[in-house]
């Protein structure tokens, strides 16, 4: 167990990070992510939330979830979050390390009620749908980024079909008092094994997903980070509710004109992982970027990394050099994600 954002968290269980990672991609893994912050907002707070995030809140239909980020006046990212329209309220999940900041912000502007008495479990992997259907058939009706209040094993849960691994899966908000029983029930299902923070990190890295405080923070904008897909047309220039969020005068022009640097995938030659903080050089030895995440991708069976690179060099295939312990390592820019996402998408009629 290691301390993480004030919580004692398992980095790994007995199987180890590589095995837990691979199990998630081939079967299903249960992650305890109860350290994340959960809150509810009144539906009337939609416009107030739109003043904090560059995302379409008012247009979100009941039963649906969206990815968003709080921004600052410089266009930097204060945290990323998930929010869903739960019918009678908005349900919000924020990062553990940013809970205090986010909850104070949401309480001040949106009348947030912190849900301190709820745990959060994530069941991720190709077998997740079958496992969940066996416990609650209604989960089968959910597509990626859809949500529902459902009883699972007798516990009143709020379920979203989403996750942080690139796989199909579910995140389950459950009353804290019933969390252990539900976790044991899920772990008792065929094909389900526990996975810790280590596998969660390597899975999200392979899936090209950002980790707050590493790949995104107050010094990176959503456009630099390549997550501008989360900014719907209605909040962009020409949209009905364009702007009106912190840093709009930075972010909106970036959407049209681009940025000097972009987040990119990086694949080194050889087997040794690259690590966060290492400098990237171009062909003539000029510093052109820095790694923000790095590790071993157990599914691609090779080291994978990502970081920020000068935009003209951020194209897949560009050759770069990473300085590792003072020695050059050849690497190249690669498209993200490193493994294809396998979300269960809604069928378009």
């Amino acid at each position: 167990m290691v301390p993480f954002a004030g919580y004692e968290m398992p980095v790994q269980y007995a199987a180890g990070i590589l095995a837990e990672h691979r199990h998630t991609r081939t079967h299903a893994s249960l992650f305890d992510v109860s350290h994340m912050g959960q809150a509810r907002l009144p539906l009337a707070a939609a416009a107030a939330l739109e003043a904090l995030v560059p995302v379409d809140v008012l247009g979100l239909a009941a039963g649906r979830q969206r990815y968003a980020f709080f921004t600052n006046e410089a266009g930097g990212i204060l945290d990323d979050l998930m929010f869903s329209h739960a019918g009678d309220y908005y349900f919000v999940v924020v990062n553990a390390a940013r809970k205090v900041h986010d909850f104070m912000l949401l309480a001040k502007h949106c009348g947030a009620e912190v849900l301190a008495d709820r745990a959060l479990l994530a069941l991720q992997g190709p077998l997740a749908a079958r496992v969940m259907a066996g416990l609650s058939p209604a989960t089968g009706a959910l597509a990626f980024m859809q949500t529902a209040a459902l009883a699972i094993g007798g516990a009143a849960c709020f379920v979203s079909r989403s996750g942080y691994t690139g796989e199909d899966g579910f995140e389950i908000s459950v009353p804290a008092g019933e969390a252990e029983r539900l976790a044991k029930l899920l772990l008792a299902q065929p094909g389900v094994a526990p996975a810790g923070l280590g596998a969660r990190d390597s899975l999200r890295l392979e899936a090209g997903l950002c980790l707050y405080g590493h790949d995104i923070d107050a010094s990176t904008t959503p456009v630099e980070a390549g997550i501008e897909w989360a900014i719907q047309k209605v909040r962009r220039r020409g949209g009905a509710r364009a702007g009106g969020f912190p840093g709009a005068d930075v972010i909106l022009p970036q959407l049209e004109h681009g940025t000097a640097r972009r987040r990119a995938g990086v694949l080194p030659e050889g087997r040794a992982p690259l690590r966060e903080g290492e400098t990237l050089l171009d062909a003539v030895g000029r510093s052109v970027g820095r790694l923000t995440s790095g590790g071993f991708g157990a599914t691609v069976n090779a080291p994978v990394a990502m970081g920020y690179v000068e935009s003209p060099l951020a194209r897949p295939g560009t050759g770069l050099t990473a300085m590792v312990r003072g020695r050059p390592r050849a690497c190249r820019v690669a498209a993200l994600p490193f493994v294809p996402h396998r979300y269960y998408r809604e069928k378009t009629p």
Binding site: Q12, L18, R271, P273, F296
Partner: protein, 124 residues
């Protein structure tokens, strides 16, 4: 008759009858590192000083160095680790050995820990 000694930095060295030392990392070290995905070993013929960084270990959690427990000349490196670095996790004191070296001064072994003293240090 073989001699096994450990360092406080979690390396082991086993001296065979011919006086050649085999070096690796301890069970405790591999547990702390977790799954090892890469190891960079010293070249044969390299002169190592006692305590010098001899190998780089990369695990899913961190990068670490394996120091040479004694001074000497590398006579062999465990090439099997290039394809199967997991051997270090599975059998750190056996198939997961790192390199062999000819000792400059066997007296340096006296400053290392015997197995019981090492176990006492790492037991909590």
């Amino acid at each position: 008759m073989t001699t096994l000694r450990m360092t406080e930095d979690h390396e082991w060295i086993r001296i065979d009858a011919a006086g050649i030392g085999t070096v690796g990392i301890t069970q405790f070290a591999q547990e702390q590192l977790g799954d090892i995905v890469f190891v960079e070993l010293p070249a044969v013929g390299r002169q190592l000083a006692q305590g010098e960084d001899a190998a780089v270990i990369e695990s899913v959690k961190a990068a670490a160095e394996c120091k040479s427990p004694v001074s000497g000349t590398v006579t062999e490196a465990n090439g099997a680790l290039a394809d199967e670095p997991g051997k270090i996790n599975q059998d750190p004191m056996g198939a997961g050995w790192f390199f062999k070296l000819r000792l400059d001064d066997p007296k340096q072994l006296e400053r290392l820990l015997d197995e019981a003293a090492y176990q006492a240090k790492t037991a909590k």
